[in-house]
Amino acid sequence: MSATNPPEILARVTGKTAVQTEARAKSFRLWITAGPGLFWVVLFLLVPSVVLLGIGFFASNDYGQPTMPLTLGSFQQVAGYSLLGWDDGNIIILIRSLAQAATATIVSALLSYPIVFFIMTRPVSVRPLLLLLIILPSWTNQVVRTYAWLELMGPNAPLTAVAHWLGIVPPDLGIAPGSFAITTGLAYNYLPYMIVPLYASAERLDWTLVEAGRDLYAKGFRLFWHTVFPQTVPGLLSGVIFVAIPAFGDYVVPQLLGGDRSLMIGSLIANQFTETPDWPYGAALTIIMLVFTGAGLIAFRILTRRLGGAGEATI
């Protein structure tokens, strides 16, 4: 018997069977490729989540730090129960966060389509530049960019003046703070994360399908809906995930552009670690938020898989 392939040669040297050596080589390759990613996920996602979950079950001392005894109090508090009975405050904040995330996602998707198709119909040489111009602002600090919106939408700001003139905002109030300002800020902040995946799928667009649609009497919106849109669904779904999830937990935008009456879950959590410390309560809130995000992702996967031919979201 002559050993010709590496596992067999190795098997002779080590005295193990070729199958064993082969299995080893395979597991080594797996560790080399998947290992770093796994390490990252465990260290920066799994461990902190477990720590947070742990903190959530402690009681809180006078300084808001976790202390004995173990209790379910913080989770009850998340659900709205306190010494004063049940309160809908948290549910409203949760719903408001979901609604803001949904609105911001829809607005950014609606803005993205015309932008993507504008870029796509430019000459090949200028497309990367236009795409860069879209991405460029997101390289600067989010706080700075959001402050810029405050300068535009706060009381006595230019856009507010326009809104007053149009009569859509009551006099002596600004657009910010308010829900509309938050939606604007979120959609603006996460727009590139919608445009880039959408552009990626639009760039591979099969234009013959569009011609087939025209050939079969479709035009205008129906032509877009039946021939272009289905081809962009994979990009759109990726974009939805990239926008909806960070928008749901965003802290900077609601903090700067929203008031107390448009509090979102990100700010609520931040408050538990800063202004009015209550670590266990903050941890419990974070865990619940993670559960919602995870459940949303899973539901989304199932939904997109069911769409079948339209393609799955590629995250």
Binding site: L209, E211, Y217, H226
Partner: protein
């Protein structure tokens, strides 16, 4: 519409339902030589017309202008006698079968076939009836609920055809629809497509670069090269009486020689003096198809016949139904002659490389061409 008064339609233009008139149509893509260069063409109603030519000859561009995907830079296109200049693609009674099939991936077979009727607003019940009928006709009924991705190439092609035919268009445009299929399936679908066209009586305009396919299917062929029509005519004419060297060579194997008149019915060629039937006139070339050449045993040469040449078989390629020979002529060792002999029951024998033979080029079979 801001249309000026329509120009009068020339008397010779075709005008029946499904007839097409192409009048001086030119299309120039930015910075390039014309893709389609001043084409005049009439296609009769109910005709199976093929645009044949190598890739880049402008045949697809011409087809796309008829479909309405491209706008001519000059000239006019009339379909069923109607000016098409301001009629967008979605309003033309023309349907296209695309080379890549272009089936909608998110719709199943039935929905793909019914798409045109749905866009036209045909009521659901009638739509179903017509879709079912056409799916039956093309034998794709059993795939009705499958996605396009789950079909084989041949099946996709049928769906694409059904999707066009169900709308009962005046003209069906087919852009190399069979080029992605294997030889056997392709031959089957050629015949089926032809039967379908005869049965429905629609005008078919078929684009292909495959001369065999063009010969099999067409009533008439338009041979294109460099944006121009080189020759238009019935299949037989285009093959047997090519107008120029390009057409002769594109439609099949041929022996072509430049000729010099020697007076009367004699012409000087590189292989020797040829006797011809007609006067040379403006002709500059002589052409004979390989299958029109007679091959004899070297010792059985009929002495009384004109245009007998002696030579040696240098190559014999057996092709099943026929054998192709390359014969080196004694009179002109640099000029090989291509000859094709059928291997049918009447064939006396075949020749092997190295054998001495004599060939007869009958004057009747020599075609004189101008350039």
């Amino acid at each position: 519409m801001l249309d000026s008064a329509p120009e009068p339609v020339p008397a010779h233009s075709a005008a029946g339902r499904g007839a097409i008139s192409i009048l001086g149509v030119t299309r120039i893509f930015a910075g390039m030589i014309p893709a389609v260069d001043g084409i005049d063409l009439n296609i009769e109603a109910g005709e199976f017309f093929t645009l044949l030519g190598p890739s880049g000859c402008g045949k697809t561009t011409l087809l796309r202008m008829i479909a309405g995907f491209e706008t001519p830079d000059a000239g006019r296109i009339l379909i069923s006698g109607r000016e098409m200049q301001h009629v967008p693609a979605h309003q033309r009674a023309v349907n296209t079968v695309f080379q890549s099939y272009a089936l909608f991936p998110h719709l199943n077979v039935e929905q793909n076939v019914g798409f045109g009727l749905r866009m036209k607003g045909v009521p659901k019940a009638e739509r179903k009836k017509r879709v079912d009928a056409i799916m039956d006709m093309l034998q794709i009924g059993q795939f009705a609920t499958r996605a396009a991705a789950q079909l084989s190439g041949g099946q996709r092609q049928r769906v694409a055809l059904a999707r066009a035919l169900v709308n009962e268009p005046e003209v069906v445009l087919l852009d190399e629809p069979l080029s992605a299929l294997d030889a056997k399936l392709r031959a089957e679908l050629q015949i089926e497509l032809l039967r379908m066209q005869k049965r429905l009586g629609m005008t078919f305009i078929f684009v292909t670069h495959d001369q065999h396919e063009a010969l099999v299917m067409s009533d008439r062929i338009g041979v294109m090269s460099k944006g121009r029509l080189q020759q238009v005519g019935p299949v037989l004419d285009v093959y047997e009486k090519p107008r120029n060297v390009f057409v002769a060579e594109f439609l099949g194997l041929s022996n072509i020689w430049p000729i010099n008149p020697r007076g009367g019915d004699q012409a000087e060629t590189p292989i020797g003096t040829l006797q011809i039937t007609s006067s040379i006139g403006a002709a500059r070339m002589a052409m004979i198809r390989p299958e029109k050449i007679w091959i004899y045993n070297d010792n059985a040469v009929p002495d009384d016949k004109p245009n007998i040449f002696r030579g040696t078989v240098r190559e014999a390629i057996y092709m099943g139904a026929s054998t192709q020979y390359r014969i080196e002529l004694t009179t002109a060792p640099d000029n090989f002659l291509l000859a094709l002999d059928t291997n049918n029951a009447a064939a006396e024998r075949s020749w092997r490389p190295g054998e001495a033979v004599a060939v007869e080029i009958k004057p009747d079979n020599i075609m004189l061409i101008e350039a």
